[in-house]
Amino acid sequence: MAGGQSLVPLMNMRLATPRHLIDLKNVAGLSDIAMSETSVTIGSMARQRQIELSPAIRRACPILAEATTHIAHFQIRQRGTIGGSIAHADPAAELPLIALLLDARIVVRAADRKRSIPARDFFVSTFVTALDESEVIETVVLPRLSSGEGWAFEEFARRHGDFALAGVAATVTLTGGRYSGARLAMSGVAATPVVLPMAERLLGEEPSRALYRAVAAAATADLTPESDIHATGEDRRDIACHLTEIALAAATERALHSTDRSAG
């Protein structure tokens, strides 16, 4: 057990009845946060609140810090961990989305071996990951955002802290006023978070509302999200489309702003 913020409610409702429960809290070093030139390495037991309040993460990977503030409520984030959230693999959750967008590496460990799984291979289905029963997550390694890279995280929840009906994360880079790089991923629209290759349609283009609309429409057109009591699949797709437009605009704004600043 990591922070227990998803598991214990299930146990309280007797929807989960593990025979044994091991608290990873006392495993030394599992909650460290380490920075390098290119990446941020976060111990799986690092608490979400620790990530959200870390100035180093806010500088190196601000989209992660921002996404973390959208997880449930601060009392939950006080206990909830990055490893727990990623291992739980809720398709609507924030941290799996960011891990996928940035193609983080999930370093997992069994008693006698260790392996590193790219996020794109880690999330298999709803609540299902590439972890086998003998493995726990040791660290999550996320690339730093490059300087000048604009980012945005947008999600739509019915109330603050609720599971999002849909979430969108994007990064963009502009060179000479045209997009030279872009990444786009969504949560809540499939059994796992998904990366949208449509972001490539931005490359070489100049920013415009019409472009955001076109990319958002194309990115969401083929999605077939599940329906539940909070939203139909159509609702989710509509909302994801809207969030994508907002996210592209916001990421572009940040990219332009940071370019201005470094140029100035």
Partner: protein, 770 residues
């Protein structure tokens, strides 16, 4: 005046039911049906009994031997009989079929999973339409039909009204199934004193005495063998009124096992099996003239009441019926009510059981205006009751007096720049932004006297109080109303202090214990002020009269020359007091021979009071909302209330009732919904699925008060508490409809959830958006 309850609650020293700990207490948990509708063919409890720590497992057959069934009688309809636990079949997902008693709750829950129940599933009845179908399977096999209640009432000349109409305006409104969600769930600690043969039943309850009467009967005990103690109650909202089957079971088993037994419901149970409400719909036709006068209305009202009747099935929907004319001049009216029994959790009285009514009436008036292309303000001007029209007897026979609906509406239009808003609304629309305003005039029935109960079936609306001025002059008060957060301990102390001439701090208010409180009708509707506080005031007035008689005798002055202030007795015009109040009280108890001739010893007053058949408050609510087309989100930008609840005892407490009530109305308008799947499984069993308003979803509410005293009540009190819920639902839904005006969209079901709004937009957008 700040609340005296706060101190213990803020220190964590309150005493809620689950806080009580008594040695040797056992803990109960219930085996519940996984099916919406099934026959029970066998129950095997052996494996559960074998689990260490399990003391007993009881089924419906066992309980039938220990208790009497419940019977809900309703004039003109078949009585509904309810076993303590079902023996033949289960009728909804979560219906309790057995009770496990164990050393702690953990073991009891372990044992639940070991009780083996064989079911023969039956087709579930899950909608009004299918329930009323002639070939529908019977939910309650003792009834002749699932359509339990069907009655029509006609007032005035509806036929002529419709014949003379220039137009007929037709509207439909439906509200979703909801549940109460007190943050403290239901629960009970039942303690049997085997030596005295007395049961003490600790449980957060709104109507402690009525519950005791019922509990004694169901347990086959004399009423003086049962004591109900409602300790601090963590909210109730109409849920903690009936004697629920779990509570009765726990009481019966505490007697049987001669051990204290505690049952504290978990949240999953509270959301799915405690009690629901609001599964209502209205189809209304209004006969109107071209210039917008309403000649008459016809309404067909439906309610899905769920599987069992803890209240008379017609009660909530009938209150929509008799209130529907609202604050409008309207004498030709006909309504029918239709109540179906289905395989869902039983429904009941959630704060403002008539919640639908204000949305229905005001929504109808808005539609009349739009259909006739007349300003809604004009339609109201032509039809709304003003203070000059009163006293006014409504179509359904209710007397309106000292109400200010039109005046409140006019004041709202003075305070809010409607013309400016319309301009802003048009400008926003050009940018694909959808702003709307909803103004709703609330007519809230507050205090139901016994005359009302007599007319509506049976029961009483009176209330009772005791005021005891103890020998030292300290005052103990009790009333039959039971607080669940309303601050009664504070307001009762205020009115008693005022009547008696003592300090508020000198008045101790003890409520909720049937061995201390006089027999009263408890807390329901909005009767706290005009029944509960009123009777305390009257009792204190009698105590004051006795104090003055004694004091007059002691100081040798005429009674009319005396007054009591700050616990001192003064002769009028004298700066210094003649004697302390405590000297009069001391004399009453300790020196009766010094009392005036004929005066009996002691200073304990018992007083009852039967308020008028019905009192009303009124209010005007205004909501400005924005609907986001792309996501379906509704955001409230402005919310205002002008409230006329007559004389106010404690304005801060009234404001708290307004804010809390509007919050519940907003929850109904935007968030909350109990959802069943096609098999009748409850899909909203957690707080992640049943969404109640949070601190970030409820706006600040601007409140202003008008105080028009009711001429027929004590102190001019009217009471209030449910109207804010009616207004909250109505103002938000009308604002949403206003925001969508001109798009060809009609929102006729609450909640205005993102999904519902998106679906409505999609229907008119086609592929334009792509």
């Amino acid at each position: 005046m700040r609340r005296s309850e706060d101190y213990r609650l803020l220190l964590g020293a309150g005493t809620f039911t689950d806080d009580l700990q008594i040695p040797r207490t056992l803990h109960a948990a219930f085996v519940r049906s996984p099916y919406a509708h099934a026959r029970i063919t066998a129950i095997d409890v052996e494996r559960a009994l074998a689990l260490p720590g399990v003391v007993a497992v009881f089924t419906g057959e066992d309980l039938a031997k220990l208790t009497e069934p419940g019977v809900t009688a309703q004039a003109g309809a078949e009585p509904m009989v309810m076993e303590t636990l079902p023996t033949r079949k289960v009728r909804f997902n979560g219906d309790p079929v057995a009770c496990v008693v164990a050393v702690d709750r953990y073991v009891a829950e372990d044992a639940i999973e070991l009780v083996e129940v064989d079911y023969e599933p039956l087709a579930p009845v899950l909608s009004m339409e299918s329930a009323a179908a002639p070939d529908a399977p019977l939910v309650d096999e003792d009834l002749s039909s699932n359509l339990h209640t069907r009655q029509t009432r006609t007032f005035g000349d509806v036929v002529s009204a419709f014949a003379e109409a220039d137009e007929i305006v037709e509207v439909r409104f439906s509200t979703q199934r909801m549940t109460h969600v007190p943050i403290e769930t239901r629960g009970v600690l039942a303690v049997w004193d085997a030596g005295r043969m007395e049961l003490t039943f600790y449980s957060g309850q709104q109507t402690a005495h009525l519950l005791r009467t019922n509990l004694a009967r169901r347990l086959r005990l004399d009423e003086n063998q049962v004591r109900v103690i409602s300790p601090d109650v963590g909210g109730a909202f109409g849920q903690k009124i009936p004697l629920f089957r779990e509570e009765l079971t726990v009481a019966a088993l505490a007697i049987k096992l001669r051990r204290p037994i505690k049952w504290i419901e978990d949240r999953l149970e509270n959301l799915t099996v405690a009690n629901h409400a609001r599964d209502d719909s209205a189809w209304i036709r209004a006969a109107v003239t071209k210039d917008g006068r309403i000649l008459g209305i016809k309404a067909e009202l439906w309610a899905d009441y769920g599987a069992y009747a803890f209240f008379t099935p017609k009660y909530p929907i009938d209150s929509v019926g008799w209130l529907l004319p609202g604050p409008y001049k309207l004498q030709n009216y006909e309504y029918s009510i239709n109540v179906v029994i289905t395989n869902k959790c039983p429904a009941g009285t959630l704060r403002a059981p008539m919640a639908l009514v204000t949305w229905a009436t005001e929504g109808m008036v808005e539609r009349i205006a739009r259909q006739l292309k007349i300003d809604p303000v004009e339609v109201r001007r032509r039809n709304m009751i003003t203070s000059r029209d009163q006293p006014y007897v409504s179509a359904t026979g209710y007397s309106y007096e000292a109400l200010t609906p039109w005046e409140g509406y006019e004041q709202m239009l003075r305070d809010f720049d409607l013309t400016g808003f319309r301009a802003e609304q048009r400008a926003a629309r050009a940018n694909d932004r959808y702003l709307g305003v909803g103004i709703a005039s609330v007519l809230e029935p507050t205090t139901y006297g016994s005359a009302w109960y007599k007319k509506s079936g049976r029961g009483s609306g009176h209330e009772a109080a005791t005021v005891k001025v103890e020998p030292s002059g300290a005052v103990n008060v009790s009333v039959g109303i039971v607080p669940t957060g309303q601050g009664y301990e504070t307001t009762i102390a205020q009115v008693v202090a005022e009547a008696l001439g003592t300090r508020v701090g000198n008045v101790n208010v003890l409520l909720g214990d049937t061995s201390i409180a006089p027999y009263g009708m408890g807390t329901r509707g909005s009767r706290g002020a005009a029944a509960g506080n009123a009777v305390a005031y009257l009792a204190a007035t009698e105590a004051r009269a006795k104090v003055l008689r004694i004091a007059a005798h002691l100081v040798g002055e005429p009674i009319d020359n005396l007054e009591i202030r700050d616990d001192q007795i003064y002769v009028l015009g004298e700066p210094e007091p003649r004697l302390p109040l405590s000297q009069a009280s001391w004399t009453a108890y300790m020196d009766p021979s010094a009392l005036p001739a004929g005066e009996l010893p002691g200073l304990e007053i018992h007083r009852t009071y039967d308020p008028p058949a019905m009192t009303f408050s009124n209010a005007t609510h205004l909501c400005v909302a924005e609907v986001e087309r792309r996501t379906g989100r509704v955001e409230i930008l402005d919310y205002r209330v002008i409230e006329d609840a007559g004389t106010l005892i404690n304005p801060a407490i009234v404001d708290g009732q307004i804010r809390g009530g509007v919050s519940l109305g907003i929850g109904q308008a935007l968030l909350e919904e109990v959802v069943y799947d096609e098999l009748g499984n409850n899909q909203t069993a957690t707080f992640l699925d049943y969404l109640i308003p949070t601190i970030d979803t409820v706006p600040n509410i601007q409140i202003s008060h008008v105080q028009t005293p009711n001429p027929h009540t004590v102190l001019g009190l009217k009471g209030m508490a449910e109207g804010p819920v009616q207004g909250g639902l109505a103002a938000v839904m009308i604002a949403v409809q206003d925001a969508l005006d001109g798009k060809g969209i009609t929102i006729d079901r609450s909640p205005a959830s993102p999904s519902r709004i998106r679906a409505l937009f999609r229907a008119v957008e086609g592929d334009l958006d792509e």
